[in-house]
């Protein structure tokens, strides 16, 4: 089976929060729960970049390691899912997760945290695939319908990539090469300014 991954391209993300809205809408998540969020670093400074963050579906998931009731499991696709029938809402997963993926519906004094909710890579949960119960607990199961997570599918700038890790990394590698080449090209242009010659230096990877 394919090993699926998310990848967010910081050079393309424009912080439109479309992925966040799409996710909320598609999975019908309650108020206060955001399975995906966009984080902006150096907001308003030079070098500002944004990234869309959700569960990264780690190979060695910290949430699964620390869960006191062992409610996490990894699918054949490498998606980390959890069983809400077992979850007790203790919040340990949120303390271990580096990405802040686990979400809890309630807050306030003496908050009984309620069952944890997180990104499922639009792959539903342990309930019967496509059942109403699955949708109610875990949201859409788009993967079973042959679709990719909606956040990535509807990303306007194609910054957020989701799917088979090999395909995602191929796409990203291609982008990196192109960008490197354009960097090279700009460097060559600088060079030309210095040197004032060299007609052949187009800087393109392929002719």
């Amino acid at each position: 089976m394919a090993n699926v991954k998310f990848y967010c391209d910081s050079e393309r993300c424009i912080e439109c929060n479309g992925c966040v809205t799409a996710c909320k809408n598609e999975n019908d998540v309650p108020w206060g729960v955001n399975r995906r969020r966009v984080v902006t670093v150096k907001d308003g400074e030079p070098g500002e970049r944004s990234l869309s963050v959700a569960c990264m579906h780690c190979s060695d998931a910290p949430c699964a390691a620390v869960c006191p009731v062992d409610c996490f499991y990894t699918t054949d696709n490498g998606i980390v899912l959890h069983d809400k029938d077992i979850c007790i809402g203790c919040g340990y997963c949120s303390y271990a997760c580096p990405f802040g993926a686990p979400q809890f519906p309630e807050s306030g004094a003496f908050s009984s945290k309620g069952k944890m909710d997180k990104c499922t890579f639009c792959a539903g949960g342990p309930e019967e695939t496509g059942s109403a119960e699955e949708y109610q607990k875990y949201g859409a199961n788009r993967l079973a319908e042959g679709k990719l997570p909606l956040c990535a599918e509807m990303c306007a700038t194609k910054a957020l990539l989701a799917g088979d890790a090999n395909v995602v990394s191929d796409i990203y590698r291609q982008r990196v090469i192109n960008r490197s080449m354009s960097t090279l090209a700009s460097n060559v242009r600088i060079q030309k300014d210095f040197l004032g010659s060299s007609p052949d230096l187009t800087g393109k990877a392929t002719k």
């Binding site: 809402g89 003496f110 009984s112």
Partner: protein
């Protein structure tokens, strides 16, 4: 199988025992033989009855210094229990859906928890005091201990089921409530219903005799 029994027959049975038991007990109080008071009335009985119903909420001055713990813990327990029984959101919802068809204002989640903690504090201290004090230990019967323990179990199972997600815990709470309901009319727990007529009776008697109490 057990779940169906707890949710079905046992639930209806316990309700029936509770309702019939209480009606029977109160009727027996009303209908039962009373010794007629042949003495000449020195005062009116009705104001005395009403006054005593409320005056007994205030502890007796002479006793108060000796029974501080019972007063404080007793009030904590009863107020906490009252709040969490009638103003906790899950209980109000349950009454609304199963019996009444209407609801009222409920405590926020933290209020529910604080009420439960206050009630637990009072109940545990009262129970331990009953067990530890020489005099109360002597005058306590099995029924007194049993009533406290059953109340505690009902509260504890409710506390275990706070997440309201696991059917096993809900069944445990309901089962303990059923035991509580069945035991209720035959025990000192009946004071929840009889404390008003009992005080009224004493007050009326005192009032008639011209005693202020």
């Amino acid at each position: 199988m057990i779940a169906n029994f707890i949710d079905g027959p046992l639930w209806y049975f316990s309700q029936a025992v509770f309702a019939i038991g209480i009606i029977w007990k109160i009727l027996s109080l009303i209908v039962g033989k009373k010794k007629s008071d042949l003495s000449v009335a020195r005062g009116s009985s009705v104001p005395g009855a009403i006054r005593t119903i409320f005056s007994r909420f205030i502890p007796d001055k002479g006793m108060a210094s000796h029974i501080k713990l019972q007063i404080i813990a007793g009030y904590l327990f009863h107020l906490g229990l009252f709040a969490l029984l009638f103003f906790a959101a899950p209980h109000v919802r349950f009454l609304d859906e199963n019996f009444l068809g209407f609801s009222w204002i409920t405590l926020p989640h933290w209020g529910f928890i604080v009420a439960a903690q206050v009630a637990f504090l009072g109940l545990l201290l009262l129970f331990l005091h009953r067990l530890m004090h020489q005099v109360t230990r002597l005058i306590s019967s099995t029924g007194d201990y049993l009533a406290s323990i059953i109340t505690f179990i009902v509260m504890l199972t409710g506390c275990l089921a706070l997440l309201e997600e696991f059917s096993e815990l809900r069944l445990l709470h309901r089962f303990s409530v059923e035991i509580f309901l069945i035991y209720f009319p035959f025990s000192s727990l009946m004071h929840a219903f009889t404390f008003v007529p009992s005080r009224a009776f004493t007050g009326a008697w005192f009032g008639r005799r011209g005693i202020k109490s």
